[in-house]
Symmetry: C3
Subunit: 382 residues, 3 copies
């Protein structure tokens, strides 16, 4: 390698370039500096339309078939100064939104620190990257229960006592106003905790399916809880917002407490996951409490593991989800049943997903209504 | 080349870095992965103002001389997995807009596929990059006739039977709501087709002028058509919008059908192009049809090819354009006559353009009005 | 170095990669092309809130403690075609704003040219990057007196006659509508000039503190002036805007003339700077003139230079600032007194700042009011 003749004021380090699944990687010779650059594109066709129904009115929309860029991401990560001072940012190009920007101190497995903006590790479904999903997108539960991205500080780690004594923990204090907030509404912060038991001694990675065909089973059971007081009852990529039925916009209007119990399992190409949710929304102005509930179950299988004739890159996955928008009105239920086929050209980095979903909404006063939706999606990383 | 010592989970490829007219290029050793990174800046001074006049009122504006960043682009392209799986995205930094994001399968010259968002190949003038133009910007026709960027899928290719049997084709199905749309208004899509005869056996590249001083002449004649039903009567970088006189915003309000006939020719530093347009706008609510027409002619010459004293990097170019906003009112005409000088410091990658344009508008009820505009522009790629 | 086998249409240059304080650097072998890529993240905690008070009402806000991403920057610079044709752009990822995009011709030290959009060199405090400050952010003066970023052209340079005959100059013509403007309001441009005397024969760099422990003293005295007619009375990262009390929005409503006298000094870890401001705002519609004044003084010291027990990376800095919103009402005064501690993990590239500020506002009609603010900030470049 020839020496570089640049004159720079500060120390200069010869560097290397290579390519991995994280994209192109620039790395200094001493290993202290590394930058990964990657882009991801998600192209989607949906019929009759793309969005999950929110109210009964959404079932009566006409056909609005659409082909669109659903996600277009620029991802830059790496480390600086030391291999254990890590950073990562992700930018949504199609809507010009900074999604993630975080710094992590990961010197010891059992005690790590994170600061910045990121997807709170509240649920598996939300935390798994939209590029690593088994379905075209997340379930009906996501809109109502996700905490999404927040800004704050966190401590987390893996406590491995050998064998079944294998645990992960996360605890965070966050501003609690969602992605992109520049100020807080009041002095109340968001508090989050998650405890996970890897009872077979191995973690289940935050990635859909079992593409690596695990020869040993891995399973987790986790409980997570979060509490927050803010003007918002839901969070999304757009930041804070309100669920239908909650129109307040006052500072500190809603005190939200929620928890969920999660399971996940992978073994020889089979994957399973579930979440069971409870969420209490207390309106501090109107003094009304509402309780929401819901759960989902998913299972996927690379059928080639059982049937030789089945193509190796083809996975089949099922999902069933139920949401109760108000647990006091037991007849109000929103259901989703979905089947998806994934063709993994190159794992999650280049895959084609086709999905068929039936939504069924029932209400104590309205006749049951349903909709069948078809979606086709290419998700490809560069 | 020293071996790199990074430990990565997935396969690692040693890579190379070089620089071409596409910017810096990162490339994996096996040639399967490549990423080009480039930026472009367009600085413009305009007097009395920058925008083409739209209505007669625009002639009565006072002097609003302006110096501005007109375009600031980040361009990332390359290929992944295979040399024929290509991608490209372009982001407008100054307005934070994702312009292009597309994936191309270009394995055979005669059958290529494209999906994502890109400038529909409807007209040469619009499809040529703003960095490869002979003038400071596009003609008076552009606002009224361009289809601009759309989201969808396309098949295209070059059919070369030898000699004059040399054709290009494009056919696309698109959502038809313009750049950045997230949903469709109804079930009606945009359909686009273009057929091009390269009757001298060679294509004319989509780039202004004949900077490579073609020693053999190249010429094309093309016909293109597009149809769409949407709330919009025009498209631009901002997405869908309406021409003045069309105020509707209902789903599916306007059915637009348009076609154009195009010619282009290059030889020994001389370049020619023309487009002849017809566009029918049918208002499905008010049941009114309007027909628009227009054409432009441009010619450019690197005069050094004929006159030795003329500086080699200096091109002169002329443009004449006429728009009929309503073909039924023949006296309504909008005209543009422009002369431009380009100094190519480094081809289109670094050039200075100075342009003088006279706009003349005539109307059956108003006295004819005109305006003289001067613009100076530096377009430079990094 | 192995040869690369890419076939490209244009000349291909083998290139090098290295890492410096400017981030990763891609460079062509002939040295004509260079691109630096870096990112910067600024994480801030503020109590009771982050923003400087603007009016008395801001003292009565409740506690709104906040943790947030305050700045998230992508910085790309370098040179192209020749080592002296330089470019630089900076993009604010968290708010999707293009901040800087400029081209510089820097062939001779005494005669340089700049075009594009950048922070006008009117004041030291504003021109110093937010990543190179000694405090969490700029003083109370910044909102009222900064000219911020503008679009235009500039000539500048260093005239070095040896010894005390060492001067810098800047002169610019700018559109005068601030960051991101696409057009001008009228024909009046902004004019700016600055003259600086480096009377000890050395420039004081545009960077906070004296981190390099200068063994020879450096000092400057500068005078700068700017005049503009526009709808605006203040500028910020958001573009043009109005100070409280100025509600006009007409084209050319305000003629602003302002000047400032600046000093700066560094020696053996000690740093000093000051600015003294006068600003006249003339309302061309209501024919009212208002005069604003203000000044700040700052001093910082790496105390380890004097006291051995003091930790080497720890700097202490003080700031005192006074603003007169209307010089005719001498009793109206806004004061700020701040103390800050910087821990430089890696110079300005990775530092932790903690700051305590007391704001005191007095008014002829209202009782004096004050507020104490605490802020903690991590500023880290990758």
């Amino acid at each position: 390698q020839e020496s570089d003749s640049i004159q720079t004021k500060t120390e200069k380090k010869e560097s290397f370039l290579n390519h991995t699944s994280k994209g192109f990687i620039l790395k200094s010779e001493d290993g202290n500096y590394e930058m990964q650059i990657a882009a991801r594109l998600q192209l989607r066709f949906a019929l009759p339309d793309d969005q999950d129904p929110i109210t009964f009115a959404d079932f009566r929309n006409q056909d609005q078939r659409v082909f669109k860029i659903n996600r277009a991401r620029l991802k830059v990560g790496g480390h600086a100064y030391q291999p254990w001072i890590k950073y990562y940012f992700e930018y949504e190009l199609s809507q010009s939104l900074l999604l993630d920007y975080r710094v992590m101190i990961e010197k010891w497995p059992w005690l790590n620190f994170k600061a910045g903006q990121w997807k709170v590790e509240f649920t598996r479904e939300r935390f798994i990257s939209s590029g690593d999903q088994q379905f075209v997108d997340r379930s009906l539960l996501n809109r109502k229960f996700t905490v999404d991205r927040q800004q704050g500080v966190e401590v987390y780690g893996n406590l491995n006592g050998g064998g079944i004594a294998n645990f992960n923990y996360w605890a965070a204090i966050l501003t609690g106003l969602g992605r992109g907030a520049r100020q807080n509404d009041d002095s109340k912060m968001m508090y989050f905790g998650r405890f996970q038991w890897n009872f077979l001694g191995r973690e289940v990675p935050f990635s859909g399916g079992d593409l690596k065909i695990s020869q040993k089973p891995a399973a987790i059971i986790a409980i997570a809880a979060v509490t927050n007081t803010s003007p918002y009852t839901r969070f999304s990529t757009s930041g804070g917002g309100n669920l239908s039925g909650y129109e307040g916009t006052n500072d500190g209007q809603y005190t939200v407490k929620q928890y969920q119990i999660e399971s996940a399992f992978i073994y020889k190409g089979f994957s399973w996951s579930s979440e069971f949710h409870r969420k209490s929304i207390y309106d501090n102005f109107d003094e009304i409490e509402t309780n929401l509930g819901g759960y989902y179950l998913t299972a996927g299988y690379l059928v080639h593991q059982a049937l030789n004739f089945w193509p190796e890159p083809l996975e089949i996955a099922f999902r069933y989800a139920v949401v109760n928008p108000d647990l006091e009105i037991t007849s109000n239920k929103q259901r989703e049943a979905a089947v998806a086929f994934n063709w993994f050209f190159s794992g999650h980095k280049n895959k084609l997903t086709t999905e068929l979903t039936r939504f069924t909404f029932q209400d104590k006063e309205l006749p049951q209504d349903d909709e069948l939706r078809f979606r086709l999606q290419l998700d490809i990383s560069f």
